[in-house]
Amino acid sequence: MSSCKEDDPRIDGIQSRIRVVPNFPKPGIMFQDITTVLLDPRAFKDTIDLFVERYKSKNITVVAGIEARGFIFGPPIALAIGAKFVPLRKPKKLPGKVIREEYDLEYGSDCLEMHVGAVESEERALVVDDLIATGGTLCAAMNLLERAGAEVVECACVIEIPDLKGRDRLNGKPLFVLVESQ
C-alpha cells in the first residue's frame, strides 16, 4: 500500500525545514511552506534522493508534476531515473491540443490539463506534488494519465495532511509521502 519513511534519518532534516505559515491563503489554514526546504541544499537533495531511491528500479517512464510546486520536485526525480517529465497545468497554459479534467474545490471547481500525446498507452507513471490535502488535484492528475492509457504506479508527495483523508480519494492507488503534518 502506502508508506512513510519514518525511520530514515534524513526525514528529520526535511521535516524541520518545512515552515508553517498560519492563516494563508485564508484564515484557519496552516500553510505548509516547502520553500524553506529548498533553501537548504542538503535537505532538498535528501528529499529528491528519497524519491529516486524508491522509484529508480520500478521502470517508471513518466513523472507527471502538478503546477506549480510539483514542477520543483518532479523534474529532478525524472532526470535521475531517466523518465520523461510531463507538466500538468492550470487551464490555457499549455499550447496545442490538451485533455482536461475538472475537479471540485471547497467552493466551485478547477481544471487540470495535459498535452495530447505527452503520454503513451502502457506507460508507467508517477504523479508528484509538494503536498496532498483533500486529494482532489491528485485524483484529477491520475485521471488524466489513465485517460491517456498510462498506468499510475504511485502518487508521491513531500507532505500529507492525514486529517483531510486525501489518501482515500486516490481510487486505491498507493501514496508515498515523506512527512505527515497535523
Binding site: F44, I48, F71, I72, P75, A78, K92
Partner: protein, 186 residues
C-alpha cells in the same frame, strides 16, 4: 550571448535541444510562434543535456542562489541548484508565496504584472543565477534582477534555454550577462 558563440560551437547537444523544442503557431494569440519546451522536458536525453550544459558552466562560479521564474523556470532551475549545491529560490506571481515578500512590477505587452520573492532567503553577498525557459523582451528577467539586487545579492548571470530575436546580438540584460542555449525554431 548564445552557447554556440561561447565555447560550445558545434556541440551536438545543442542541436538535440533545439530539435526537441516544439513550435506551436498562433499561441497564445495570432502571430506568435510559441516555443514549447514541454517536448524538451519529456525527452530525457535532451533534458539532461540542457541541465548538464548549465551545470558545467556554473559549477565553478561560486553560485550560492539559483532563482527560477514561475512556472516554466521551475522546470530547470531546481535541477541546476541541486547539482551545484546552491539554494533554490522561486520567484512567483503575486499572492502565491506565503509569509513576507518583496515585489517588483514589470511591463507586459498590455498592462503590468508583478514578481514576488520571499524576504530573508537571500543575503548580502549571495551570488545569484536567474533561470527562465525563454527570454523575449527581458521584462520579467529585469524584474527578477531588481528583486535580487534589492536584497543585496550579486546577480552573476541570467540564463535561458531559448533567446528570442529581441535579445539576439545582446550579451547583457539589465546590466547583467545573459546566456542562452538556442534560438527559436521557425
Amino acid at each position: 550571448m548564445f552557447a554556440a558563440e561561447n565555447g560550445l560551437k558545434g556541440d551536438p547537444r545543442l542541436k538535440g535541444i533545439s530539435d526537441a523544442i516544439r513550435v506551436v503557431p498562433h499561441f497564445p494569440k495570432p502571430g506568435i510562434m510559441f516555443q514549447d519546451i514541454t517536448t524538451l522536458v519529456s525527452n530525457p536525453r535532451a533534458f539532461k543535456d540542457t541541465i548538464d550544459i548549465f551545470v558545467d558552466r556554473y559549477r565553478d562560479m561560486d553560485i550560492s542562489v539559483v532563482a527560477g521564474v514561475e512556472a516554466r523556470g521551475f522546470m530547470f532551475a531546481p535541477a541546476i541548484a541541486l547539482a551545484i549545491g546552491a539554494k533554490f529560490i522561486p520567484l512567483r506571481k503575486p499572492g502565491k508565496l506565503p509569509g513576507e515578500v518583496i515585489s517588483e512590477a514589470y511591463e507586459l505587452e498590455y498592462g503590468k504584472d508583478r514578481l514576488e520573492m520571499h524576504v530573508g532567503t537571500v543575503q548580502h553577498g549571495d551570488r545569484a543565477l536567474i533561470i527562465d525557459d525563454l527570454v523575449a523582451t527581458g521584462g520579467t528577467l529585469s524584474a527578477a534582477i531588481r528583486l535580487l539586487e534589492r536584497v543585496g545579492a550579486e546577480v552573476v548571470e541570467c540564463a535561458c534555454v531559448i533567446g528570442l530575436p529581441e535579445v539576439k546580438g545582446r550579451c547583457r540584460l539589465g546590466g547583467k550577462p545573459l546566456y542562452m542555449l538556442v534560438e527559436p525554431r521557425q
